[in-house]
Symmetry: D2
Subunit: 402 residues, 4 copies
Amino acid sequence: MSEVKKVVLAYSGGLDTSVILKWLQDVYQCEVVTFTADIGQGEELEPARAKATAAGIKEIYIDDLREEFARDFIFPMFRANTIYEGEYLLGTSIARPLIAKRLIEIANETGADAISHGATGKGNDQVRFELGAYALRPDINVIAPWREWDLNSRQKLLDYAEKHGISVEMKKGKTSPYSMDANSLHISYEGRILENPWNEPEEDMWRWTVSPENAPDQATYVELTYQNGDIVAIDGEPHTPHQVMEKLNKIAGANGIGRLDIVENRYVGMKSRGCYETPAGTVMLKAHRAIESLTLDREVAHLKDELMPRYASLIYNGYWWSPERKMLQTMIDASQANVNGKVRVKLYKGNVIVVGRMSDNSLFDENIATFEEDGGAYNQKDAEGFIKLNALRMRIAAKKGR
Amino acid sequence: MSEVKKVVLAYSGGLDTSVILKWLQDVYQCEVVTFTADIGQGEELEPARAKATAAGIKEIYIDDLREEFARDFIFPMFRANTIYEGEYLLGTSIARPLIAKRLIEIANETGADAISHGATGKGNDQVRFELGAYALRPDINVIAPWREWDLNSRQKLLDYAEKHGISVEMKKGKTSPYSMDANSLHISYEGRILENPWNEPEEDMWRWTVSPENAPDQATYVELTYQNGDIVAIDGEPHTPHQVMEKLNKIAGANGIGRLDIVENRYVGMKSRGCYETPAGTVMLKAHRAIESLTLDREVAHLKDELMPRYASLIYNGYWWSPERKMLQTMIDASQANVNGKVRVKLYKGNVIVVGRMSDNSLFDENIATFEEDGGAYNQKDAEGFIKLNALRMRIAAKKGR
Amino acid sequence: MSEVKKVVLAYSGGLDTSVILKWLQDVYQCEVVTFTADIGQGEELEPARAKATAAGIKEIYIDDLREEFARDFIFPMFRANTIYEGEYLLGTSIARPLIAKRLIEIANETGADAISHGATGKGNDQVRFELGAYALRPDINVIAPWREWDLNSRQKLLDYAEKHGISVEMKKGKTSPYSMDANSLHISYEGRILENPWNEPEEDMWRWTVSPENAPDQATYVELTYQNGDIVAIDGEPHTPHQVMEKLNKIAGANGIGRLDIVENRYVGMKSRGCYETPAGTVMLKAHRAIESLTLDREVAHLKDELMPRYASLIYNGYWWSPERKMLQTMIDASQANVNGKVRVKLYKGNVIVVGRMSDNSLFDENIATFEEDGGAYNQKDAEGFIKLNALRMRIAAKKGR
Amino acid sequence: MSEVKKVVLAYSGGLDTSVILKWLQDVYQCEVVTFTADIGQGEELEPARAKATAAGIKEIYIDDLREEFARDFIFPMFRANTIYEGEYLLGTSIARPLIAKRLIEIANETGADAISHGATGKGNDQVRFELGAYALRPDINVIAPWREWDLNSRQKLLDYAEKHGISVEMKKGKTSPYSMDANSLHISYEGRILENPWNEPEEDMWRWTVSPENAPDQATYVELTYQNGDIVAIDGEPHTPHQVMEKLNKIAGANGIGRLDIVENRYVGMKSRGCYETPAGTVMLKAHRAIESLTLDREVAHLKDELMPRYASLIYNGYWWSPERKMLQTMIDASQANVNGKVRVKLYKGNVIVVGRMSDNSLFDENIATFEEDGGAYNQKDAEGFIKLNALRMRIAAKKGR
């Protein structure tokens, strides 16, 4: 156990982090700074302030990070068509580096020498918080109570809370048997009946989307305008990045879009089962591919596709602040210079259907044969030579009996 | 123009290949062998025999290749979760190497020195046919009439047909303004209003699927059994590979599953817009990822994901018979040894929803903490060292002001 | 044969391009602009001017491109530690895009509608010239005489020359039975006895290097200073990029460094045997890796290594001006921001031995254990957790009998 | 500290592992089995037996693993042309998985529940030993004394030895100020003056090679015969894998070949400087590339090159026994089916110069133009179409002003 003078705690005001707050004061005998962020999780933050004050905290940070989150984290990630293991849109993963960054900024501002968080020792989030923190401030101390204490069950937590007079009233409208995490990009569910991957999730688990069955019988059409690979307008109206998230979450969620149920591979080495709702993200992935299909060179697109799984792993594993992620981002961002135009999507009972795309930077050419006066860029006879030379190495090999 | 004695023609009995047949006889003055294959396109083949006979053909091959197609082409491809450009399931691409192989086999059997096909000079299929043919028989002559003749419009074809007494009656039930291609994996549409990528396809274009709107209000559940990465049973009943395709196409198509509308990058260098129906394939991709999520090691899965785009390009570009595709296949197949078990999917109005997966080879472990007597494989304290060492290079860099 | 009004010819003044010049005038009846470049091949250019004038050429371009070549082509390529097929330093490949660029610039300046070059139809250079030209000016006409005419032997060329009064006196000091190409980065040899890959090259073939046997018995030490991945000084004295090439070629060549004898795979599909002398480049590759070993993050370095073969193929295949090469370059260049410092190399009889490297941006830390007051960034106990979690997936698999 | 009944110790008989032996007996109060292997390090093993006996050990394993090491580890690795970070031939890395395997085999035979090794907590070897052990037996206990005890200096070790009557006489002919490791593939040096990367190694550090300066003035020619990618004969005489290593080490070492001096990135996150002598390996890498250059398809070779850095990292990081390494090996081995033939190399004062290669499976074809009666597989005119279609996407982009 390191000696620590002041610690910045990622604080939600819920049971876990309230216990952690008290535990830090008791065990580490250090000053605690609380940091509560709005990253679109859809909860009021003022109760957290009240609770922190009640716990004797002097320095309380409550930040609205929603625009920064969408602009500097979600949007750059979607430029790469990022999916982890073919399915997961990285909703939790992409929020963690922002929290890590703010924790360190606040530590620097307040003269704190440590940070603390409520992530467990078996998950990915501890890694994401801490890799980010270390990358941004190498001498920071990290206190991860779940790896240190013996309050390793819900009952022990409750006992500790009661013993120390910590309010345990549940947040309204959010009692759930699942372990959950939410932000502008997604909400996630783990645990309980989900721990058997043969079990189908219960309908009442889901919160941000209606089921496809309950979605409207009428499709909704949406038109998205792209600039440099980012959505800048919806149905012709300018939207900031966070407004894009908010609006698309609402429309897509109402159409039953964005549910996901997978078994994924954690960075710490185990498989886990998770359910996710990512309404806006599900639309954004489809639409971004559509605008790229018109505006991106083939080989650029293929190179992006080949590097994407690695880029996704970097984010999933917590390496947002690593030099290799930044290097890849340089390339990804450079690829988006011409990714401008409009995509029209139809949302219907869980389906995202691209029904149109157009761009002033389109490389699609209906009349490829005629773009030059003297007969066109495309001479069908060229194909023979193209094929013949591409076949040559295989013909030689076959000739040699290979 | 090479001198040719006998040519094997990929012959459908339709207008185009009927004209080609006659043209080969006239222009090349060579004997023609016709080859017509059932690869699941859903057309009767006997009319082709009659027409070929009427055209004076002595050697007529009509083959049912449906099992071979599913077993040796479709299934191996799905082991890799193959998608081209994030969307396309390669329905046309994967059929061409089989046709190429049979053309060469027949050429060898009949003593032919050439093959011929009806693919145009602007598409991918010419490449796929010819790369395959050259790889399998390096000295074969290839006659690609569309690159040679001047019958470069529908009207000229019709005139030629009339002049030479070729029957031009349309095949029943298949008149369509679109350029189409069908086999057990998919049916494709190109041309006409699709040439403007802003246009939404008309509902009556689609043939194998109902629209999500018209699909049943009740979901269908299907259970798929996997062995070595391949589906071997549906709802507990053994199915051959082709039976799998047939059954899943039917069920999925009836649930509005498998429509796709994209702009893709052709190997010959241009973008084109295509619409596809791939009902079975859409289910198979989702379900295969699900069974792999339980049974595949993380790093094996990630390596497969990183190589997949290249594997997909190889197939799209016509390199099925290349040594590099075969080399990759060796690795992909080796990865499937433990991909056994069951996946349960829910099909509903265009949605394929995985609702359960189980396997005797599962690497998912609910009780990871307790698999050893002395306290479990997973000690939360290990995470600290894991994170610290993974962070080390970034901490050193930060320490040095980077 | 396209109709052409004015053509820019890449003109060396040698027999081949002199014949081409005349042939263009005769066959295409078009005006010819000659372009002769100094890219470090070590030949006088004025004779080319005289010959062009004698041939009636009005617009004669003679450019010294040596600095541009080193600065904008060679140096960027070496930032990636580029090697083709494990051996080849791409000496010919990297010069072609510069020639293509100048041909198009001159075509634009002179109002020409075509370019022409003397590369044969079996090699890579035609591809490199023409892909570059098309990428920079899509409507340009390309005349590649070797693919058109029937002057397909040396004797026919000589006959043509004699018949048309073209001077065939050999350039002094350069009579050679080999097909050769030279520029600041290398000189290459092909043909003749080299066509049997079992034959050892004859000693008198080599021109830029002494043999290791004939190199001095005393080693030469050189100190190279790097800034952003480029050499900016030698033994403490500032050098421009071309001066670097010139100086290192001299020193390294004198020490028997830079000979290479390989069988390589051409883009057009065949294998060919080539011998190369790349004295400066051989030193630069070793030294650049050495300065990177100190200054580059591990994962950045590994990512560069994994992408390098593809980057090398792009250059080898003539895709310098492609969007995917430019995208990769963005990333490579970004990685070099901290590649600053000094490398000391020992050159001795064919060996390039790195004997020292230092950098203010070094990430090497002798005292890793002590950089923090409280006991150091590196706690040996962390290794246990690091190993345990990295082993976890394999332990689970083994536990399950895999 | 786990409770342990019997531990298998990787035991060299030197000071470190002798102290560990005693320490295990004292601290863990457990039975110790010693395991000493001959992997070509060039030391007598019988003294280890005597010392182990003297220490009261009942179960003493002394194994000659040299053939297994060369056949099942070194040779497979060289099939991939494996180099870590562009320079390092992985001499230490490749030996560790074999030791791990034997430790577990012996643990299984003797009923031991733990293994122990003398690798420090800051290096790669602990990771390699332990990942291997865990992969092969997931419930094994690992005792890594260097991460546990406080004998963290040479003096403390010596004091402990003296106090416990452990013989500290130095092994003859091997006193060295450097930290060293040797096996059939290489010998390594770390520490002391090498810790400053600007320092040139002292000549008397090197043990297996003469300096290029002191190598013979006369070159040595060697002919290597390959079968399936492995060397099976030298100068026409059959050699087993270990005999190949032994013979080539001798010849190449005598010619000053195989010295390397680098800064490398350790898996545990720090950079370190190491010097290596890998005489045989240096020749083998060059020669294997040469035989592949003749016999491997271009795209197969390129795919191998692109995957090699990752394969090298897997071995460097200790993942030999991982499923992903095995999956890659499947592919690599499959690629070697036709890698047969002969390579002639010239060894001279540090240089390995390939001077000839031949193969019955060669894909090199001097007369590519004439392999068919009707004029050859290669028609120069084909190149135009090949280039035109490869250029098409760039032309379209340029046309659109991109």
